[in-house]
Amino acid sequence: MRQFFSQLISFPYFFKLAQLSFPYIFVISIFVILLGVSWGVFFSPSDATQGDVYRIIYIHVPAASVAQSIYYTMVVASITYLIWRIKMASVFMISMAPLGALFTFLALFTGAVWGQPTWGTWWVWDARLTSTLILLILYLAIISLFSSFDRRDSTDQAVSIIVLIGGINLPIIKLSVEWWNTLHQSASITLSGSSIDNEMLIPLLISILGFYIYVTAIGMRRMQIEIIKREITHNWVKTIFQEKR
């Protein structure tokens, strides 16, 4: 196990592993997403109060879930980087932040599309939407930090500091935003059980799973690109490209 981790954080090993596994993971993710979404959209029953509009849940909820999870994994990576100076952790943060921003935007966009028929407006300043918007701003701020330094190490460290502070602060922001606006549906999926009917829940869980696999695949690709950018002068990168030719 230990050996596996030490290999995983070495750039050439990770690069090769990602190169080998990417096509499989990518294809599986597309398959699972298609399964979950099409099941949800075409075969599951329509909701009693919201009708068919609720079906956007099969994209909205997975996107929102992925967007938040990416941030929390980035927080773990930032701690890893700040304590052990593992470069792979910073590669991870820098590759994942744009993905996180993308999925946060997707969650907001689908939320707006969903809100139009249910609330009668594209945007409501309620707790969940507001904190998602703040998450998006935070992602964009982190991305804007990428180019503010002359040194790679400084960028990595600045990013991990701000990711960590944001990670500590995010629950507090969420809590205060909720005090600010105590109203909205509470989270539908909880550990103790769900208020969603099984027929709707299963396709939802499948598409959530699909989104996670998809992010893993794309994240690996992005990390590969970032690794090449950093290690372009190293011999192992050169040999890989020579083999390709």
């Binding site: 700040l82 703040i134 701003i137 935070l138 701020a141 982190i142 804007s144 930090l145 503010s148 330094f149 002359d150 040194r151 190490d153 400084s154 460290q157 600045a158 500091i161 701000i162 960590l164 502070i165 944001g166 500590i168 602060n169 507090i172 922001i173 809590l175 205060s176 935003v177 005090w179 600010w180």
Partner: protein, 219 residues
Amino acid sequence: MRNFYFKTFQRDSRVYLSRSSSFLGPIVFFLITITLYPIAFGSDEEQLAELAAGIIWISILLANLLSHQFIFNEDYKDGSLDLVLTSGKSLFLWASIKIFVNWYFSSLPLIFISIFTSFMLYLPFDAALILAITLFLGTPILSMFGALAGALTLERGNIVGSSIVIPLCLPALILGILAIQSYKNEELFFYIFLLAAFLFFSIPILIASCLGAIKLHFE
């Protein structure tokens, strides 16, 4: 008492007082933004009273972040930071003193001025007192976030820095405004205690990360 920390305090105070721009800049900025709101929204008494807490807090937030962006910048450029690093003194204490001096000269005047402007925005007297209390607790948080933004972008000193930290200041803003809005209610102390908790929670974490951010530039 002529040691390192005391001298840092004196030096920074004198630097601050020697330049009217750093002293008056935030005040002018604050007064102008406060004036813009009634011009934009109209001078309806009831409406302004409803918005007053938010207007003052937002203006202070922006004025504060802008004025604290350059706390460490000058020291970095003129080499004073090098000397501090060679001194072997506690950087934590040094940064705390610097932030305190900046807070004292740029935020404290704003708190007093905001009490007067709150009457211009028809905020009731009781609410104005609560406003002052929340600002006392809240502005140090904003100062520290501003300092962090400045420390992260020492070389450049651009707008990126302060835009990073604005979303992180949100709890202070929300708790402050909620406290003012419930100035007649029993929730008041709930919000004020939480704001105080957020302040003391932020102090060590933010100053430590300021130092981390400064050290990025010395590697």
